[in-house]
């Protein structure tokens, strides 16, 4: 099941490690900012509605 990467193990594993880590960080940061901005906007809209 596990492929034998031989002398290229570092190149292949590092490529997968770096790429997947970057994608996970990008997705996580995008979701975190989306939630934060959405909550901020709701708070501001609520305040604006209260104060007319």
């Amino acid at each position: 099941m596990m492929p034998d990467l031989g002398k290229y193990a570092f190149a292949v594993l590092a490529s997968y490690g770096v790429s997947l880590a970057l994608i996970v960080v990008l997705v996580a940061l995008s979701i975190r900012r989306a939630r934060r901005v959405r909550a901020e906007l709701e708070k501001i809209e609520e305040r604006v509605k209260r104060h007319g």
Binding site: M1, M2, P3, D4, L5, G6, K7, Y8, A9, F10, A11, V12, A14, S15, Y16, V18, S19, L22, I23, L26, V27, S30, I31, R33, A34, V37, R38, E40, L41, I44, E45, R47, V48
Partner: protein
């Protein structure tokens, strides 16, 4: 129904909210399937050995790094011509995604190049134009952050995007008209003789679909965020005036 209806922020958010779960799930499905297929169930290449497995990350990332800039070019042109805020914000939203894909393409290229070419880096036309494209991404994002007025930022970043498009196109076609480079020709071709073998081609196709869908999902989510952030700034400015 016209495509310009989606220039309405409310309509854009409502539509993308409906599409986002499906596109995200399809992206995860394609990426997992393609990468597992490519990593575990494809043979080594007779020349490249196991390093051929890097193709499943390098090619889709490089393809999308260029296509992301082309998408930004189109949306920037829409902003310049029709002044639709959503299109300018979509370009802004796509930039970090494109920049990340460019880093992935550069990093995986270097990791592949060391054992295959004997060097991490060469000032080859395609590699160099890709590095310049990455610098354009950084400059584009920095320019958006540096200018307080959203419309001025959109105007200036749109112009920067037009200039950077030269390098996006150069990255794609450099191998065709510069023969002295190290980088080989395109891995994907309509010519069966030139294209990679089918055993690598099918999982690669699934990975490319995964990267495209991931890009679309992230641009939907990040554009929604930019629209909301812009509305927050507008409301705060109005509050400050009253």
């Amino acid at each position: 129904m016209s495509i310009w209806e989606y220039a309405n922020p409310v309509k854009f958010i409502r539509t993308t909210d409906r599409l986002l779960p499906g596109v995200s799930m399809a992206a995860v499905l394609c990426l997992v399937t393609g990468l597992v297929w490519g990593y575990f169930f494809t043979p080594d290449d007779y020349r490249q050995g196991a390093t051929v497995k890097i193709i499943y990350l390098h090619v889709p990332a490089a393809l999308m790094a260029i296509n992301a800039w082309i998408m930004m070019l189109v949306t920037s042109l829409i902003w310049i011509i029709r002044r639709h805020h959503v299109s300018a914000l979509a370009a802004r939203a796509a930039a970090p995604v494109g920049a990340t894909f460019t880093v992935i393409a550069l990093a995986t290229g270097a990791l592949w190049g060391q054992p295959m070419w004997g060097t991490w880096w060469a000032w080859d036309p395609r590699l160099t134009s890709f590095l310049i494209l990455f610098l354009f991404y950084l400059g584009y994002m920095a320019l958006w952050s540096a200018i307080e007025n959203d419309d001025t930022a959109a105007d200036l970043t749109s112009i920067l995007c037009l200039v950077g498009s030269v390098f996006a196109l150069l990255s794609r076609y450099a191998v065709l008209f510069w023969n002295q480079g190290l980088h080989q020709g395109a891995s994907l071709s309509m010519d069966k003789e030139e294209n990679v073998a089918d055993v690598f081609w099918y999982p690669l196709l699934v990975c490319i679909a995964g990267f495209v869908l991931l890009f679309v999902a992230l641009v939907f989510l990040r554009t929604q965020t930019e629209i909301r952030a812009r509305r927050s700034r507008a409301l705060l400015a109005r509050e400050g005036r009253t």
